[in-house]
């Protein structure tokens, strides 16, 4: 079982490195007497993305996964921390530098109905990135657009149509073509298949995989649907209330989840087979409001193993097995040391 992914154990090139990333939103309430609450949407993230891989980020509402995506894209300013993209810090870039960096860093949005400007034709939508960066015009632009359309499976007769003339799946193809136009290195897929029908979801997932193989793309695949994430990701990070609670190779996460929240999340997914019908190991309670997260480990009010320590202090986010990161006190407590390898025990002693 404890088997490292061959690819990851060899020297992999890091393309994005996120260090202690934080994003706090100020929410002001009231008009005369203003009260400000801080929503810690993202609260100290550390992870790396390797070139050519797909890193899946899963979590429920309020976990900060979409905010993370927008921070990486530079669509939001980080409150604290760094996002190194090929050694340059996105978090510290000027607007002009960001504009240039966007040639390498693209996004596919969740809702194909709202992410395409309804007043532009397919040709304008797909060609726009090239126009904006002054890369092509006239016939060369049209040729490029046609090629992109072919790549994502759209027909050239659709060039002059408007987005509302397409079905959800086809619109998502337009969105993908638009993202690919600049030949980026990294694409953030923000719930890219969540709004699609099951049979269309499969088409788009296959398309994304095909494009990755052909163009050597790196994906950051943000989603709440675990099956899709497992299907497409090489590694998966699980977020809860602004923090990464576990990150590991995809099979590792599914076969040996360490964090109690990961356990619960995996167990909650209904399996499409009535023979597997079972009593879920339900976790109690609701997801807390991110403007008022619980003390210590954010998961402790819902965690069946929570102790006083969990209420008081934040667990460290540690690499307990090679390439398997987790943030949990319970795992590191004495009675569980048997499941942890030697490295960890020594680290814990320190």
């Amino acid at each position: 079982m404890i088997q490292l992914n061959e690819e990851l154990s060899t020297e992999e090139k890091v393309i994005i490195e996120v260090q202690n990333l934080k994003k706090h939103f100020d929410m002001t309430k009231g008009f005369v007497k203003k009260t400000t609450t801080k929503v810690r949407a993202v609260d100290g993230l550390n992870f790396k993305v390797y070139e050519g891989e797909t890193l899946g980020i899963v979590g429920e509402s309020g976990c900060g996964k979409s905010t993370t995506g927008q921070l990486i894209l530079g669509l939001l300013d980080a409150t604290e921390g760094h996002i190194y993209f090929k050694d340059k810090d996105i978090a510290g870039m000027s607007q002009e530098e960001l504009r240039k960096a966007r040639r390498d860093l693209q996004v596919i949005f969740q809702d194909p109905y709202s992410s395409l400007n309804p007043r532009m034709t397919v040709e304008e939508l797909i060609g726009e990135p090239l126009v904006v960066h002054g890369l092509a015009r006239g016939q060369a632009l049209r040729d490029e657009v046609m090629q992109l359309m072919k790549l994502v499976g759209l027909g050239e007769h659709q060039l002059k149509r408007f987005p509302h003339e397409f079905s959800g799946g086809q619109r998502q193809r337009i969105g993908i073509a638009r993202a690919l136009a600049l030949k980026p290195q990294v694409i953030v897929c923000d719930e890219a298949v969540s709004a699609l029908d099951v049979s269309i979801q499969a088409q788009i997932l296959n398309l994304l995989k095909k494009l990755q193989r052909e163009m050597g793309l790196t994906y950051i695949f943000i989603a709440h649907g675990l099956p899709a994430v497992r299907h497409i990701s090489d590694r998966i990070g699980v977020m809860y209330l602004g923090r990464m609670v576990e990150l590991a190779d995809r099979n590792e996460i599914f076969e040996r989840p360490l964090h109690p929240y990961t356990h619960a999340l995996l167990d909650s997914v209904p399996i499409p087979d009535p023979l597997f019908r079972k009593e879920h190991q339900l976790i109690e309670g609701e997801i807390p409001n991110p403007s008022n997260p619980p003390s210590g480990c954010h998961f402790h009010p819902r965690c069946p193993y929570a102790t006083d320590l969990c209420k008081q202090s934040d667990p460290d986010y540690l690499e307990v097995f090679p390439n398997h990161f987790v943030a949990c006190h319970y795992l590191l407590s004495d009675k569980n040391t048997n499941i942890l390898p030697e490295v960890m025990k020594t680290r814990k002693d320190k």
Binding site: Q70, L73, L75, L98, R99, K100, R102, R103, Q106, V107, F109, Q110, D111, S114, S115, L116, N117, P118, R119, M120, E128, P129, V132, H133, R142, M146, E156, H157, L159, K160, R161, F162, H164, E165, G175, R178, A181, L182
Partner: protein, 301 residues
């Protein structure tokens, strides 16, 4: 290669043709839209071709034939189909000529107000922060002053003329557009497609002109058409108060004002310009309603 271009060109034409056809079909289906469009067309043609349609010079007085009733009333005749006023001027000719100034004032002050309001609304909504604060507080202070009082003061100081009238009407009503455009911009700005424009590296100017503007313009045009109607009425009120159009120019509002004292004895002097205002305003409102429907980008195929 050529075949591809040709084919797309054909597809393009067919597509636009189809859309135009759809628009026509929709217009025929909407009876109020058709009525509105016809009224506005008739009034516009009347304004453009006034010298050819009108039988008399609108300023020509004829004391002998003063206060003649319309042709169907006793004492009226077809020489003056809608009668004459207290100075013997032909009411019909004056209405025809009056449409020029009423439309000119209505349309140009709306365009002026629209441009100012659109500009500030976009800036306030898109850039927010201090820009928003400054612009919106200015808008608030404009709104706090009663419009008519404000206009009266300015007109009294500058002296009434066609240009000042347009400037004053435009300069006071831009706040409506600014508020509307700002709030629309605020909501459009949060849409994913604007985020996607940022994500491909588009500059602010492009985002505002290609993403925000086209998506706020339909509500804008609807408000603008409705405001043409308000402005025509406003011009009438100011002329009625003696601060708008001055003789020998003629506008419907001025005619209304002139006819006021004869209402009891010679009703037609004030009634016909009144009807002209009402019908035109209704026509413009119908047209605005219809525009709102067709400007929705999702004309279903």
């Amino acid at each position: 290669m050529t075949s591809t271009i040709e084919r797309t060109a054909i597809a393009e034409n067919r597509n636009y043709g189809k859309r135009l056809g759809k628009l026509g079909k929709r217009l025929l289906k909407s009876k109020t839209g058709l009525v509105g469009l016809s009224i506005v067309l008739v009034v516009s043609l009347m304004a453009i071709f006034a010298p050819f349609i009108a039988m008399y010079d609108p300023a020509k007085t004829d004391v002998v034939h003063r206060l003649l009733p319309p042709f169907w009333a006793e004492g009226g005749n077809m020489d003056y189909p809608l009668g004459t006023d207290n100075l013997g001027r032909d009411v019909l000719s004056r209405i025809i000529y009056g449409s020029r100034i009423s439309l000119l004032v209505g349309i140009s002050s709306v365009i002026l107000a629209g441009i100012i309001g659109m500009f500030f609304g976009l800036i306030a909504g898109y850039y927010g922060k201090i820009w928003d604060f400054i612009i919106m507080r200015t808008v608030d202070s404009f709104l706090a002053i009663p419009n008519i009082l404000f206009m009266l003061i300015i007109l009294a100081v500058l002296g009434p003329s066609l240009t000042t009238l347009i400037l004053v009407l435009g300069g006071t009503s831009w706040v409506v557009y600014a508020r509307m455009v700002r709030s629309e911009t605020l909501s459009v700005k949060e849409r994913d497609y604007v985020r996607s424009a940022k994500a491909i590296g588009a500059k602010d100017f492009r985002i505002i002109t290609k993403y925000i503007l086209p998506n706020v313009i339909s509500s804008f045009i609807v408000i603008a058409t409705l405001n043409v109607a308000t402005t025509i009425i406003m011009e009438a009120s100011l002329s009625f108060l003696g601060l708008g159009i001055q003789s020998p120019d003629v506008s419907w509002g001025l005619m209304l004002s002139d006819g006021r004292q004869y209402v009891a004895t010679s009703w037609w002097v004030a009634t016909f310009p009144g009807i002209a205002i009402t019908v035109t305003v209704l026509g413009v409102i119908f047209l605005g309603d219809w525009l709102r429907d067709i400007l929705d980008p999702k004309i279903k195929d």
